[in-house]
Amino acid sequence: MSITAQVERFVAMGTRIELYVFGADHAAAMIAARRAIERVDDALTIHRPSPTTAVNDALLAGRGVAIDDPVLIEALVAIEEVHAETEGAFDPSADRRFGGAGWGDLMFDRRAAKLFALKPLALDFGGIGKGIALDRACAALRDAGVASACLSAGESSIAVVGKHPLGGGWPFAIPHPRGGDVVLVELEIVNEALSISTTVGAGTQAPERAAMIRPSDGAIMTAARCAVVVDRNGGRAEALSTALLVADDDLAQRLLHRGAARRFLYDLSQEAAPTVDVVRMQAV
């Protein structure tokens, strides 16, 4: 008997969300997962009025702001942790419009749920928002008893629940972002998230996509790189893959070898066209 899947596709977090839930009828679980993602989108979006835009208005005006949205608080906590872990390489407030201002110019009081800006700046959750959304959707599916599911936010952010419906891990290949037949890496994941970030390829041509900024000096990243990170936590995977793109070589090495997660960084700058000789720095 063939294994069927329930499928849900919709637009959220600025991209195409796909939810594949395998096994028994999990209609209610699917709805819960979708609502979880939409809830994160509502909280973190900067493309329509949201708790995040309200916070940004205050930060840009140099005011402190109390935060009462639990999703936004959870995101800020996650950022604070991963900003420290990446030695500042992941910074959702780095933006050339605000000069050298960044996360270090913010004071976040977790207990009081208050945020203060020492310099005008604004937050853009971007990739980490997608990771958090998938994490919450996975949690909703698990809570509803789903044993096997695959979730995607635009095919660059993946999260899976349990094992592949046919057993074993979920097998993924990461093709060269410029196309062709070159595969950068193949890996299997179980109950994990996978994040792919790159400075080249079709995904970088999206309208309104902001330039990738190196927080340490505000420089626009022009080096051709691709980072792949597997982590139990989707938000963390997203933050780490972004950090790897902007990190200098020393920091990149430290990030690659820190922790047990699978992390890969590919230097694609030497290539005129995709080849198998991509310069690869990785920790397994």
Partner: protein, 423 residues
């Protein structure tokens, strides 16, 4: 270019036309081009040429004279223009024996010509054509045919009554790239044609300097309603002909909006036009022309279910198959009990930007389509029979352009007239 080189170029051009018109259905779709090219091959030496009298030696008239000079079967025997400097500029392009007149009536009365070539302001086309037919002459007239639909019909009727050829200048109908494009569309290479999106965008005032001894209305006749429908008759008519040609029918209805939006300089014709021409089966020709932005230039995007042709760029494109979502494929794999690696990490956002695949060339090169249409005209005059199919195309193109003007002026949909002269 010496004569030998020119003959080689000419021969190569005619060969391309013959090749392009050799496809299935092309004898019906472009019979005039088949006839003209065949006649050009059969008549390789300039003997006993058809004697032409050119009425109007302004910029366009002089361009025509230069093309006539390239033909093997036509010669400019006389020319006339009411503005002496135009005649002086045309003089170097004609033979020493070419007679010159300041009035078209005098040229017609003087005799010694077989046909006239009319390159005068649009509102003069009908009068000059009718006068020529009355003088027993054949007529080659610049597009558009005439300022009114009624005048267009009168020209057709009078040419028949006089048993003389009436040919209108639509050089795209002799252009190897267009013929090739039509051939490939007829062969089904771009699937079912459902829409043509055409534009002619320029970024200039379309206004010429007025010499002291003339008037603005004489020089800038294209900007005034009594002498021109502006963008519709001077530019759109070419592209409407292409639309009718590829859709193999005239439109059934047109809606449109026109305005003097940018060049508020006293002109009377629109400097912005946007129209939708409807064809049977729900097909559409969507047209814009304007005079303050040239980015998209002149083009007809002929859109089918499996491809697109852009004849001005000379390219044909196939539709790019829709991307299959990686996880969608994974779902199907699982359903049939197959586990395989899922390639992932593509664009987070699938662009629906214009497809930028390079496509394939339709043929390009040094073309002399204006020369060929005169060779065709020469052959038609000699045979006393018009090139087949040509006049209907031209008539319907001009009617379509004038109907579009009416739709914009009235702000209402205009249906295709039922009282046109049958051709």
């Amino acid at each position: 270019m010496n004569h030998q080189e020119f003959d080689l170029t000419r021969r190569s051009f005619i060969d391309r036309v013959l090749t392009a018109t050799a496809g299935a259905g092309m004898a019906t779709a472009a019979p005039w081009a088949v006839s003209a090219a065949s006649a050009a091959v059969a008549d390789p030496v300039k003997t006993n040429p058809v004697r032409l009298g050119v009425i109007g030696t302004g910029d366009r008239g002089r361009t025509l004279i230069q093309n006539i000079a390239k033909t093997h079967n036509c010669t400019v025997a006389a020319m006339c223009d009411s503005y002496a400097p135009n005649l002086a500029k045309a003089r170097p392009w004609v033979g020493a024996t070419t007679r010159v007149f300041s009035d078209h009536r005098a040229m017609l009365d003087a005799g010694g010509i077989d046909a006239v070539v009319i390159a005068t302001p649009l509102d003069m086309h009908a009068r000059h054509s009718l006068d020529a037919f009355d003088a027993g002459l054949h007529v080659w007239c610049e597009k558009a045919m005439a300022r009114t639909i009624a005048d267009c019909g009168a020209m057709v009727t009078r040419s028949r009554a006089a048993n003389k050829v009436l040919q209108i200048g639509h050089q795209r109908m002799f252009h190897p790239t267009y013929l090739n494009a039509l051939k490939r569309a007829k062969a089904g290479e771009i699937g079912a044609l459902t829409q043509i999106r055409a534009s002619w965008h320029r970024n200039n005032a379309w206004r010429r300097a007025v010499p002291a001894d003339t008037t603005d209305r004489q020089i800038n006749w294209r900007l005034y309603r009594d002498s021109s429908a502006g963008l519709m008759t001077e530019l759109a008519t070419h592209q409407l002909q292409v639309g009718n040609w590829f859709f193999d029918a005239p439109p059934t209805r047109v809606i449109g909006s026109g305005s003097i939006c940018f060049w508020k300089d006293g002109r009377e014709v629109y400097d912005h036009v946007a129209l939708i021409y409807e064809y049977t089966g729900g097909r559409k020709f969507i047209y814009t022309s304007l005079l303050n932005n040239a980015r998209y230039g002149c083009e007809e995007q002929i859109q089918g279910s499996t491809g697109t042709i852009e004849p001005e760029l000379g390219r044909i494109y196939q539709e790019v198959p829709a991307k299959v979502l990686a996880l969608q494929r994974m779902q199907k794999d699982v359903a049939r009990g197959h586990k395989r690696t899922v390639p992932i990490g593509g664009a987070t956002w699938f662009p629906e930007l214009p497809v930028t695949t390079p496509g394939e060339a339709l043929g390009w090169g040094e073309y002399d389509e204006t020369m060929l249409q005169f060779e065709g005209f020469g052959a038609a005059v000699r045979a006393g029979k018009p090139l087949p199919g040509l006049l209907r195309q031209a008539y319907q193109a001009t009617v379509a352009s004038l109907l579009g003007e009416q739709a914009m002026d009235r702000g209402e949909a205009m249906t295709w007239p039922t009282n046109l002269v049958a051709i």
